[in-house]
Amino acid sequence: MSFFAFLVRRAIHSIFVLLGLSVVIFVISRIMPGDPARMAVGARAPQWVVDNLREQMHLDEPLYAQYYYWLRDALHGDFGISLVTRRPVADDIKEFFPATFELALLAGFINGAGGIFLGTVSARHKDKWIDNIVRVISYLGVVTPSFVFAILFLLLFGMALKWMPTMGRLSPVVSRPPTITGLITIDSLLTGNLTAFLDALWHLILPALALAMGGLAQEARITRSTMSDNLTKDYIASERALGIPEKAIMRKFLLKPSLIPTVSILGLDFAATLSSAFLVELIFNWPGISRYGINAMLRKDLNAIAAVILILGVVFIVVNILVDIVVTQLDPRIRLAPGRGE
């Protein structure tokens, strides 16, 4: 199967999954007991307002028709009005999504880079004390919920040692750079505002670290095990016999094949990162889409809930397509293999 055919297959599969997901989300947003129109306008609104809204939301029509209207609007970027902010949900998402994206991006980077680094160190010094330390750390990292990391980091680095800021994206004294991408670090670099860049980065580190810990530990474990497996293979032995220095073997021949499982897991771990963001953003008071989503959930703001889940689903699927592309670049065998691509 050619690379292009692989991509097309993957894209078709993703569209199918997204459609299915939209059905699931639609069903969730309709299983709630009670009248969505009444919930939207509140208990004291007159009946005619409710009736108008019912008509507007197509609530009198059969479910499949409601789904059709909902999906059509969603595809046009119209997710309705948020009950909490009283603004179009799409505007809210535009405002809050970049904050989460920035956070998840840095977390993903820490996750991948840190995991591969620790895993490599561990594999190189297998069964030495440094390997054992890395293994214990990665085990603890895997089993500790992100919100526990967040609270411990907040307590230790933010409150006890006072090294790091504990709230929000910028210090109150630093003025926010004009919004270009919505990512404050990028925007401040684009406008040449170094103070804002450093301040924004400084604010990012603790929450990003709390988000990344679980995945980082996972990556370290996987990298270690594939690397130490590959180390026993014949081709490494023959390179050693040729007198190639250990470091060069590591870098040139061992790293690339050993990264394939790590990169695949990186995509799946992004799920963990996105879910953990729901908890970590709450703790660090991070004005992102997850905190917005939680507030929507706590107040049963259906339009906002549906939009947040759909957006995060799309992000997750796109990231996994990207990961698949990277993996096929690393390992040509996968491109040629028939089957589901799993």
């Binding site: 999954v17 299915g20 969730i28 947003s29 609270i151 996105l274 879910s275 729901f278 706590l298």
Partner: protein
Amino acid sequence: MENLGRNWYKFSRNPMSIVGLCTVSLVVFLAVFAPLVAPYPQHASAFVDFANASLAPGWRYPFGTDVMGRDILSRVFFGFRFSLTMGVVVLTLVVPPGVTLGLIAGYNQGTWLDTVIMRITDIFLAVPPLILALAICSVLTPNLFNAMLAVSLMWWPWYTRLVYGLASTLRNEFFVNSAEALGASKFHIIFREILPNCISPIFTKMSLDMGWVILIGSSLSFVGLGVQPPKPGLGTMVSDGARYLPDQWWISVFPALAIVVVVLGFNLLGDGLRDMFAAEEV
């Protein structure tokens, strides 16, 4: 039964498996006998003792007290109850349908049945489970029961995926072919021939999943969509205490560590089981 000794030997070769087994046993013991072993069982629900509020850990209250004057240690013991209930109920609800669907899809690999089941599985695996569970919890009334329901709805596809992989290779084995040749029914082949050969991976995954389900459950409680106060859910306690950081750190830190201990215990146990079963196949 003579395998028991050998299996125990394989399991116990790694001391961490023993640590896991002991941790899990201890947690189960504390949860089951919480009313007897907790120093202040009456502190498990709404209880107020302002004279002893916000006490730092000490002799009388090893984990300190919260702002209502309730003993954190006792509440953690009762919190284990919610966590274990969550794990057991979710897995009981999830494993039978998940495994059955995986067996059916795997045995009928390549047919429309396979396609339908596995595509639906893909949809549920396409979103991080916590996010959909949060959404389901939020549209229902937030409480422990609905949290268990929501997590269950999200969890079955993992078992379907796991068993699907196993069943689709097992169906080409000789013992399946010979059962087919003898005219055995599909039901017999799927549940009597294939299923017994999937038991050890399922069992291992269940042990690991106990930890993950507890983790997700405590996350739901943490954001306020799981166990509701004044009930002592571990996640609920962490989020209650987070308001009083850093001065009264013990209110949230001890329940948080309790979550880590439970999840760690089940993970070590699961790894031990995996080692035991893996060695069996060699």
